[in-house]
């Protein structure tokens, strides 16, 4: 009799343990997700609060009077509030600089990635490592000589100066990603097109380019985000409203005499939104690109 009950109880106990384990796993995951999301969420909430709520005692956790005032304020659209910083111009600068450098970097990087994926040539691996290492030069350290050089050639405080610098930052990573994506496309496809009478150039644009398009799109988004978020170089190579970008503007904002947390939060939200949307779009390629570009090399 006793032996029968233990036989029955064993699987039951095991399933109990399994259930408890599953609950523990979920509890851990939920806790981690809260830690990852809460800081960002708090700033988003602050961006929609009036300033009094930030300073209120006891703390007001959820906004009681949500408002768009902070956004209007930083863009100078509220007549009664004096405009502190030309945020609209910063936003425009950021957009122009990021988009231009992205488009050019993807074109140049795609050519390079194709060369690495499809050709054997002398010095290939050395060149590849050299490209990767060029990316590892810290921004601040690079900004010193660039500051000296750019002031001599008149590129300091111009959008073009920053665009050129971001090109150099984005090209190695674009090469790395596109190299991985072109490798996944069988060479036979392009060869077949060439047998059917295409030139290699035509074969590239008609066969390989469309297949690599999603990879190129994610490379473009990475390049855009890097330029959009860059601070160390932008802070030294831009001096005035002519070329200052959003991250530099945010820093200026925090350095101002009066601390305006709601205004800064609104500006932070403006910086996050494009990043949020774009990362969401590429998330699938992001993982695939990073891992397979690296592992299958």
């Amino acid at each position: 009799m006793t032996s029968i009950t233990t036989e029955l109880a064993a699987p039951q106990r095991r399933s109990m343990r399994k259930l408890r384990r599953r609950w523990l796993v979920w509890a851990g995951v939920v806790f981690a997700m809260i830690v990852l999301c809460l800081p960002g969420l708090w700033v988003v909430l602050t961006a929609f609060r009036p300033n009094v709520e930030v300073l209120a005692r006891p703390t007001i956790w959820l906004p009681q009077n949500p408002t768009l005032e902070n956004f209007l304020k930083i863009f100078g659209l509220l007549p009664q509030v004096q405009e502190g910083l030309p945020v609209a111009q910063y936003f425009l600068n950021s957009l122009v600089i990021s988009v231009t450098s992205t488009v050019v970097a993807v074109l140049i990087g795609m050519a390079g990635g194709y060369a690495f994926a499809r050709f054997r040539f002398r010095g290939k691996s050395t060149l590849f490592i050299a490209f990767m290492l060029s990316r590892s030069v810290p921004g601040v350290a690079l900004s010193l000589p660039l500051f000296i050089l750019w002031s001599r050639v008149g590129l300091i405080d111009t959008p073009l100066g920053l665009i050129t610098v971001y090109l150099a930052i984005n090209i190695p990573f674009t090469i790395w990603l596109t190299d991985g994506f072109f490798r996944q496309i069988p060479v036979e496809l392009s060869e077949a097109a060439q047998i059917d009478g295409c030139s290699r150039w035509q074969a590239f644009w008609r066969v390989e380019f469309p297949l690599a398009r999603s990879g190129l799109a994610s490379a473009a988004i990475f390049a855009f985000l890097t330029s959009w978020n860059e601070y160390a170089l932008a802070s030294q190579l831009s001096r005035t409203v002519a070329s200052k970008t959003m991250p530099v503007g945010l820093m200026d904002f925090t350095a101002q005499f009066t601390v305006d947390w709601t205004g800064m939060s609104a500006m932070a939200v403006l910086i996050i939104i494009p990043a949020l949307i774009l990362t969401f779009i590429v998330q699938k390629h992001l993982i695939a690109g990073l891992t397979f570009g690296g592992v299958k090399g």
Binding site: Y114, L144, P145, P247, I272, I287
Partner: protein, 300 residues
Amino acid sequence: MNFLRSPRAIPYLLLLPAILVILAVILLPLLVSLWSSLTPYVLTRPASLYQFVGFRNYERLWGNSDFWWAFLRTLVFVTVALNLEMVLGLGLAMLVNQITWGQRTIRTIMMFPMMFSPILVGFLFKYLLNDSIGFVNNALYSLGLITDPVPWLVDGTLANLSIIAAEVWMSTSVFAILLLAGLMAIPAEPLEAARVDGCNGWQVFRHVTLPFLMPFIYIAMTIRSLDVARAYDMIRIMTNGGPAGRTEMLWTLIARVGYQNSQMGSANAMGYVSILLSIIFTFYFYRKLADARAFMGGAQ
């Protein structure tokens, strides 16, 4: 001319624009920086750029305690942060790997911190850790855990811990996502074989899962070591090296000496040290990655 028309020239021609940009924007500045580190160049006296003094700037660094403190702090910061991120990332990846329902959503949420640039993360934590109106102090106060505000960014030790916390928050996801991709790519057979042979959970992890994950860990390390210097942005906005230089890292020190004190020669010498440090880190992990990759290729 013949070479340029031959098919052998095609890869070089394709790479030419990329090489030119890197030469102009990375290599040329590095040479300028090397040269100016051998001069007493001060921004306000342009002529001093042409005055060669040999390794005097580097010799001075040798006896500069500020520099050595910043150097040490940077090394400790990078080591502690990268290791913490690796361990936490691995833990998170293994947790998420256990769940089947809703995993895609969780993965998307996990990418949340990756969308923030370092300057934003710095702002985020500066705001959250503010002693009078910050979320953390407010929460601790409401829970009755503290009566006086904790000076997170004002106390030297706490400020260093806060910076590490911000860095870990920002970058643990990179590890978690890459390692999760690695975990999901592990074939089922070796795991089952190990269990059948009587391995316990830890042994399976140690001898099957971990070796398989190694290339992914090195990819993550390579990617991270490429942009670990971006922590400059974060520190710049959170503490700017303060209080009283207690959170000064190489990068903030370089910016201070170069731009605020205009001592470009001396700053470039420090810059060179930090560049070499980054390149060594990246090269090391890249080689490890190449080895791990060769090993995986050989095993297949």
